[in-house]
Amino acid sequence: MSLLAIEDLEVGFATRSGRVAALKGVSLAVEAGETLGLVGESGSGKSVTAFSVMRLLDRSATISGGRIVYAGQDITRLGRADLRALRGAAMTMVFQNPRAALNPIRTVGLQIADALRAHIDMSAAQARAEALGLLAAVQIRDPEARLDAYPHELSGGMCQRVMIAMAMSCAPKLLIADEPTTGLDVTTQKTVMDLLAGLTRSRGMAMMLITHDLGLAAEYCDRVAVMEQGRIVETASPATLFSDPRHAYTRRLVAASPTRTSTVASLTADPALPAGVVAFPQVRRESAQAALLTVEGLVKRFGSGEPAVKGVSFNIRAGESLGLVGESGSGKSTISRMVCRLLDQSEGSILFDGEDIGAIPTGKFHQSPLRKAIQIVFQDPGDSLNPRFSAFDSIADPLRKLLGLGKGRELKDRVAATADQVGLPLDLLDRFPHQLSGGQKARVGIARAISVAPRLLVLDEPTAALDVSVQAVVLQLLDRLRREQGMAYLFVSHDLNVIRMMCDETIVMQNGSIVERGPSQRIFDAPAEAYTRQLVAAIPHFDPHRARQPADMPASRSQPL
């Protein structure tokens, strides 16, 4: 018998426009000691499935059919007291956004003690000693001092370790991890995931890992279930799933996930085609061309502490694409903002086409004729659009302000032409941001930036908020635009795979300084610096030939019955 068996689960949400089905008959089983991956894009129902098992669903959600059987009991029929006895003691959950998941005004030591004392009868002193042991088990440095720390005094990765310590405290049999590393840096992601995998293995716990990242699922799971629109479309071992996906949706998802070898073109191509058939035409640029953007000794200080950017120099030639990668706090976004003249630098010069734009204060730059030559695409396509502007207004805004186009025919034609370039259907132009999908909003953001035909486009994590299939399309669009318009790109991202596909040259940043720079492919294949090697090694990937074979699994792990 499985540890957890979900049978034909149906869950619906009551909304203003009636009932919406989130899960339409989900069935899956988790065996004792097994790690099951649940992958899918946003809205596919993976989190709803997890919250149903914990019975932590939102007030507006109801389980309308099916059963969830845990160790012989149907969870959907349990009362509050029985549920409380189960939660934390038998099954537990690790959440996304670890900092928000911890009580902000209670020390982490007390919170772990609360979790312990909810199920085990012990004194406060005993609980504190036990909490210390748990913090040591999740490998927090200096656990004694961390006991009395508040969540805001810890990094995101440390908060997630605390969360894991709480989840482990009463030795449950099932751990549900809901996107446990989303929002964490790639190296932190690796340590947190290794920790989770190690702890569940050594304690014989089963884990249900929910993630949108196929690479992560492939690396850490024994079996992977793929969800689409409230249904499970395919379940298989990672090796089979990624080398031989059966369902059309799985095929699309596998293709869209950037890997070590994928190219922009292969992201939506049929994976059945042998690689190389869709060979990607490389951009040819005249090497003798003078630099379009030259940044010299750029420094940015916020307050009195260490500078956020410490003397960075680089240049970009016309039509070239330069990638800027690094973890949070490395200074990559700060650089992009200074180059766009949204932020004044503390020291250093920024030359654009021979003109010293660094000397123009950011407050005055909008009057400069060069404003339209440098444009930016922001990270969150939803938040960076004015909610009261229709798509048309958003795209027309820079045309009105920078080119002085009035209400006439010319403006309409120009907006329509730009929308056409980014593949935005013209009938969507009247819509407001909340009426557009994530991918459509991303297109509006890109259209707004390119409507004035800039020569340099700064892209600040343009696809970080998008699902992989949407990301694939947006990346292809950006790549095509660059070749058609001859724009230069400064592409900021934390995703090394995306940078490798999109950029000729890459700069690796750490703590405000450049660690390494060079041709993107070389940085990936043969990183020269230790930090770059660490970054590259931390990317989870699912090379079908390198995927974990059953023989690699530790012997202590119980096999599915």
Binding site: T92, N103, R106, A115, A167
Partner: protein, 345 residues
């Protein structure tokens, strides 16, 4: 609480206090000018009678210094405040500082008791409403709050008197802080409840408490709405937050989640509002003081204003401004202790 955090709070408090000094100076100047601009001539008012001659009025005016230019009057006023002299009330004949000192405890005691009463009612009501939004309890609380804020205090005060004094006969005479048969305990703080306790005089304590109930209830009813509503809103937000879900996911008991996790976080905004409510009550309880013949500062200031008696009004406004600053500082310090994130700024 770590000593480092306490030091941070102390430094922040000092900074906040210094930054409120200009506001206090502004209040002094503004009230001074306002009093001069308002119609009414104190010299005429304090002359012997309606038939007083021009010469007599002029003499009083020059004796009061009202014939001097306004800038000079302001200079003398500010210099006197600096030396702790708030002037003399022409109606009572006492110095303003003495009048205020003797009357302030009455107002403070009433306000504290009313606020405590309001909080003990509003917080559970707000929590109950937040636990079951849209339920009968929620609507009941909303109705009570709306009534409380709609009915003016002089109406609700009179209603309470009618009910409990005239009709049921269980409340004492609604006049003053003690009934005529009780001797006042020796004055230490001016707060009757505390002084009676210090003297071990239980009879005086219960008499003073009985006098307090109706006016305090009247005021509490009026401020119930903002307190209960903010409790409800902030509890709703907290109950929907990630860390409450975490606590539920770990199987913590229901009381522990609601009181230990949700309420402690949910009370933070209530603390801020309570500070504002306290200051408002202290300044605005003049109607209650009038209805219940309460010898407080607000009633004193109103009487002075009606008789064009400048000094008490100016003293009262300055006192209120100072109390406002002190209350806000206290709230700041409490907030710093209750929320460890504040010390980081």
């Amino acid at each position: 609480m770590k000593p480092r955090a306490l030091g941070l709070i102390a430094r922040r408090t000092g900074r906040r206090f210094l930054s409120s000094v200009p506001a206090l100076v502004g209040v002094v100047v503004f009230t001074f000018i306002l009093m001069r601009v308002l119609p009414g001539d104190p010299a005429v008012f304090f002359a012997s009678g309606p038939n007083a001659g021009k010469a007599e009025i002029e003499a009083i005016r020059s004796q009061m210094g009202l014939d001097k230019p306004m800038a000079e009057q302001l200079f003398y006023y500010v210099r006197d405040i600096g030396t702790g002299n708030l002037g003399r009330s022409l109606t009572t004949g006492q110095t303003v500082s003495k009048d205020l000192a003797s009357r302030l405890p009455a107002s403070l005691e009433l306000t504290f008791v009313a606020l405590a009463l309001a909080l003990t009612l509003a917080i559970p009501l707000g929590v109950l409403a937040a636990l079951r939004p849209g339920s009968l309890v929620d609507h009941g609380v909303r109705l009570l709050c709306t009534l409380g804020v709609c009915v003016p205090t002089f109406v609700s005060g009179l209603l309470l008197i009618y009910c409990f004094y005239y009709w049921l006969g269980i409340a004492p005479d609604p006049t003053g802080r003690l009934d005529v048969f009780t001797t006042e305990p020796p004055r230490i703080t001016g707060f009757l409840l505390i002084d009676a306790l210090a003297a071990g005089d239980w009879e005086a304590w219960s008499a003073a408490a009985r006098q307090l109930v109706l006016p305090a209830a009247t005021m509490a009813l009026f401020v119930l709405a903002p307190l209960a509503r903010i409790t409800r809103a902030s509890m709703l937000a907290v109950l929907g937050s990630d860390y409450i879900r975490t606590a539920e996911g770990l199987g913590l008991s229901r009381p522990r989640i609601i009181i230990g996790y949700a309420l402690r976080n949910g009370l933070l905004p209530v603390l801020t509002i309570a500070g504002i409510v306290f200051s408002t009550m202290l300044g605005a309880n003049v109607l209650v003081e009038k209805v219940f013949s309460w010898p407080g500062v607000a009633a004193y200031a109103l009487d002075a204003l009606l008789s064009s008696d400048y000094a008490p009004v100016q003293g009262f406004v300055l006192l209120m401004a100072t109390i406002f600053v002190i209350v806000n500082l206290t709230i700041d310090v409490l907030y710093g202790i209750a929320d460890p994130r504040i010390g980081m700024e």
